[in-house]
Amino acid sequence: MNSSHLNPSSSLKSRFTTRFLRALTRINARKPISPSSPREIFQRYRRIKVAADKSMASSVRSRRTWSRATLWKLRSRSCLQLASLGRRRSVKTSTITSRQAIMKKTSHEIENKTTTEEDHQDRFVGQADKLRELVPGGEAMDLCNLLDETAHYIKCLTTQVQLMRKIVDFYSL
């Protein structure tokens, strides 16, 4: 893998690696390394996972719906955490209502499609819903764009897994 080549996928890789490693550094620096208790390990794991997802999504730079949705989700989650600390409910309710709005829109779209189209959509509705759950931001998309997003999402996930595996291998040697 050459990061020096002008390959969009390699630049994605390098962007992801830099961000992720920086985040890992921050995580390691913040917590003075005490991995003995499983709870702490779990916390680290959560943070690392969030960092991985976040760095992946920011490498894609919100060009894609799923990356925007991931970033939005992470930011709202951090907002929620702050809000829960500060005992404020407004943030929570706003996120919930926006989610509901999206869900309503999606169901409405699906309704339209099944009435106008032939059995094509019916074949896919069950699985499309599953896919919508899996792909972040997939709730408010029609099948066509959903497949597009899934393709890009799979590509980025494979890159992410590849790079993370490399990192793990290097640090476990």
Partner: protein
């Protein structure tokens, strides 16, 4: 397709085309002919660009790359049906072949497997069946925009490729289907999807069909992405496979981050400085030699560190090494339980650099 051309002849109204074509098969003259035909027959030039986006669907990649040409395709597209109805194709096979040679006849080269090479299609076309010439006529309509027509005709021909046989079937028929579609084309400006034989021709089903083809194209892309999916036939199974793959990848990310959480606590990433100071060539030359000796227990840390100091002169790296030394001693045993080997802090930083280089 020979009988087809015969029938086309019989219902001709463009008798002049014969003489013109034989005389000088310049694309310009041909386009003049076509333009005449255009003016002769009532054509709807108002075409919707919205439906366009569904037309070139079968090649999603091309769609992504050249949406503009797809849009331009809209304008001449509705004329296809009209031409089919009114255009008579000269029986002169030589004419057909020469006409086919022009890049605008890219659509003819469908059956010759071209998906993305418009420059190839002109060479293919002479050998391409003159039978397809009837279909290729509409391709000529785009001669007014020769530059942009190539990718657009490609797209259309790619779309047509999926339905060659069916269109053949329809052309072999008495053209009633064609008439229907042409009528539809006149009535409804959005339609530029050709109706197949025995298929409904109203705009809804056509739009749905175009959309379905778009979705099928995307499914094909996904099949290529997901390993082991290309053998599966049937969209439901493919979707299942895709869903499983996405779940698998997400689980992999979780597992790897868990591993990172357990593996890495002793490692102090001083990567910012490493990234800023690293030079690729330096890494490349030094790493392969340095990595091998480094997979040693910490006992050898001192010796290694000195080596690093000599070779790299990274102040940050040195600090990281020293800082890590104290930490390493405490966490070797948990690491041993987790991993099969023991690794030194130095090797860890070196590996990070190596990984950066590799990546």
């Amino acid at each position: 397709m020979e009988p087809n051309t015969g029938t086309a002849e019989t219902r001709s109204n463009g008798t002049a085309s014969d003489g013109d074509d034989v005389a000088a098969l310049e694309s310009l003259q041909f386009t003049d002919e076509i333009h005449r035909l255009i003016s002769a027959t009532t054509t709807n030039n108002a075409s919707s660009f919205t439906a366009l986006l569904e037309l070139p669907a079968p090649e999603a990649v091309e769609l992504l790359h050249s949406p503009e040409s797809a849009k331009l395709m809209a304008a001449p597209a509705p004329n296809i049906e009209d031409f089919k109805a009114s255009f008579h194709f000269p029986s002169n096979s030589g004419l057909i072949e020469r006409a086919a040679r022009f890049s605008l006849f890219a659509g003819v080269g469908n059956n010759n497997n071209n998906t993305s090479n418009s420059p190839e299609t002109p060479s293919n076309n002479p050998s391409a069946n003159p039978q397809k010439a009837v279909k290729s006529e509409p391709a000529e309509t785009e001669s007014s925009e020769p530059l942009v027509s190539d990718p657009t005709v490609e797209k259309r021909c790619i779309k047509r490729k999926d339905r060659e046989k069916k269109v053949k079937g329809s052309t072999k028929k008495s053209k009633t289907a064609m008439n229907e579609s042409s009528e539809d084309a006149e009535k409804l400006p959005y339609v530029h999807v050709r109706a197949r034989r025995g298929q409904a021709t109203d705009s809804h089903s056509l739009a749905e069909r175009a959309r379905r083809e778009k979705i099928n194209a995307r499914m094909k892309l996904l099949q290529e992405l997901v390993p082991g999916c290309s053998k599966i036939s049937g969209t439901a199974l493919v979707l299942d496979e895709i869903i499983n793959h996405v779940q698998f990848l997400q689980r992999q990310v979780e597992i790897l981050s868990m591993r990172l959480a357990t593996v890495n606590p002793r490692i102090d990433f001083d990567l910012d400085s490493i990234f800023t100071t690293e030079s690729g060539s330096l890494m490349d030359s030094n790493f392969p030699s340095m990595v091998m000796p480094l997979v040693w227990p910490e006992v050898q840390v001192n010796g290694n560190r000195q080596q690093y100091q000599q070779q790299w002169h990274f102040d940050a790296l040195q600090q990281a090494v020293w800082g890590r030394e104290e930490v390493c001693n405490n966490y070797i045993t948990p690491e041993n339980s987790l991993l099969s080997y023991d690794s030194s802090a130095n090797s860890a930083t070196l590996h990070s650099n190596q990984m950066k280089m590799e990546l």
